[in-house]
Structures are given as C-alpha cells and as structure tokens.
Symmetry: C2
Subunit: 203 residues, 2 copies
Amino acid sequence: MGRTGRRPGATQTREQILEAAREQFAEMGYNGATIRGIARRAGVDPALVHHFFGAKDQVFIAAMQLPYNPADVVRRLVTAPGPDRAEALVRFFFDIWERPETRTPMVAMLRSATTHDHAATTVREFMSHVLQRHIAAEVGISPVRAGVVASQLFGLVVIRYVIGVEPLASASVEELVRICEPAISAILDAPEPDAGDDSSDGR
Amino acid sequence: MGRTGRRPGATQTREQILEAAREQFAEMGYNGATIRGIARRAGVDPALVHHFFGAKDQVFIAAMQLPYNPADVVRRLVTAPGPDRAEALVRFFFDIWERPETRTPMVAMLRSATTHDHAATTVREFMSHVLQRHIAAEVGISPVRAGVVASQLFGLVVIRYVIGVEPLASASVEELVRICEPAISAILDAPEPDAGDDSSDGR
C-alpha cells in the first residue's frame, strides 16, 4: 500500500517515534511535549520526526491513532457553503463514529480523558489548542462558540456510542442529523455580538 | 433541619436502605433492581423504602447522591413559557454544575459511567428510563429529541467541568447561556415531522 520507495526500516523508525511521542505526551502533556524531546527519546534527528509526521499536532494524532485530523473538520467547514456547513460537520462526525475501526481509538482517548489525570491533561491541552488555534481562527467564530459546537458533538457521541443510552443508541443517523443540524447551525451561523452585529435574528 | 417527629434510628435505617440500594443497582443494573429486593437486602419492609424515598427512580437518585431529580427538569420545562423554556433549562443545568457540592456527585457518576461496565449499565438504563418515561412524555417531544437535548447539555458540562477544556472552562455562564440557548431552543421548539407539521421553518 504505497510503501514502495520507503527505505527499509522506515516503518520501524516510525513506530519508535510514535512510542517516544506517547511517552512524552503522557509525561509532559500536550503543551510541554516538543518535537525535539520526542526525537531525543526516539534517538533520531528532529528533522526525521517532521519528515514523517509534520507539526506537533500531527505527531499527537498519529500517536493517539486518531482517525482524523481536526484540520480536516476545519477544511470541511470552510469549504461547505454557509447554509450547508452545519450538516456537513454533523455528517462528517457521524461518519467517523459509525465505523468501528475509527471509533475505537476515539473511545479509548475519551475514556482516558475522563479518568486518568495525566491523559486528561494531554487531551485537554490538545482540544484547547485545536479549538483556539485552528477551528475558531479558520472558521471565523469565537473560540467559546467553537467549543460549544465541539461539546455538542462530543456529548452526542459519548451518549450514543460510549455510554449507549437509548433511544439515542439505536436511532438512525439520518434522524439524528435532522434533529442536530438546526442546533449546530444556530451556533455556527449566529452573528457574534462582538462582531458589530447586535440584532438577535440576523444571519 | 425538620428532623422533629422522626422516630429514633430513622437516619440509620435510611442509610442502611441506601447502602442496600447501591449494592442492588451495582449488581442488577437499574432495570433489574427492585424496591422489594432493596428492602430484603436492607432487612426492612418494602413499604418503608417507599415511605422514605418513593419510587425506584427516587431511590436511585438518593443512592447516587444526585443533587436533583430529573422530574424537576421536566417540571421546569413544562412550567416555563414556550420561548423561555430553553433558557430556563440551560440555567437550571448550570446552577447545578457551578456549585461544587452538587457538581461532585454528578462528576462521580459520569466518571463511573464511562469506565466501569457495571456502573455504565446502571447509568445507561437510568438515563434511558428518564428520557423515555419522563422527559419525552411530559414535555411532548420525541424521546430521540429529548436525548439530543440531554446529550448537548451533557457534552457541555463534561468538556467544561470534567475535562476542563479551554476556553469553555473559564468562559462566563452568561456567555455560555447566550450561545447555547438558541441551539437548545432549535431542538425543543422544532416541529416534530411525525406530529403532522411538514414545514421545516414553522414554530
């Protein structure tokens, strides 16, 4: 699968870096970990870490085996036309959570975030970073608003897939999308009062 | 505090019943536990359990030391005038989560729901029961819709109070209420398609 051209040992080096990254993140949190520190622990040059993964958030995503990069959510939002972006976001989220192979690592991350203090720190710092640096900035909404949208999608997947509360656990994705879309849209598309629009019904 | 008139030993008997209830719920889940079984385990008459607590959901709430009865949420919703009920609900929820003494038992329940399989079963069954029997029926919305509203509030409090993701963790309650209210309202006040209203914008 596209492995031609990689020099022998690349897979092994990659694994070594990811293992070192998991240790660094667990010890230092997301903010405290550095590419340099991960490279040192893996016994490789920092340039190689960059070469394999890119920036720190990419290393984190690979280390946690997350099925997607939050930057993709942002891109999805930015490229969808205004009225459709709430639905695009909700569908994107369900796509990830409906498939067991992409759901499993997400569940593992959420479980650790609500239980172990170390893991919670890392996940908390990573989520804050994504909300404040990526989503809010690129979508043009306030970080708090971005956080509320994220928390709504988060609540839905935890209740449905992690805890498994009925009737949400066995409702169809279509029904859930139909119910959620207006709520997500009410937050994404509301005028920001600090953006100079003071009406409460404009769009 | 209003203890006058209780016969001696009432507090102790109450504690004995709650201890038995915690064991029953842990062993049998919410659906499997019965007032009769709890009474037998506590060595008291089932009528006494009823006398102290009422129905099974009340016993559960007391045993888990939950700060509120979901029936109160329902009453809050049903008594608030239509356009205000979303805000009333959101404020009610924040009131509970802002105070450490009511937040602590909620956090404990959520932690156990995402980690221990036994506790997860009990919490899952209890939440399903509340959604399907109380909230949906008394507020006049579908159980799935009630579940989506619950999941949104749930996501918000987990992200803000349990995981502590910024900027949600330090945003003001007023800002969060202002952002969330339109979203909750979009779900609570949307016409149910199965209720014979097929327009997508009516209210």
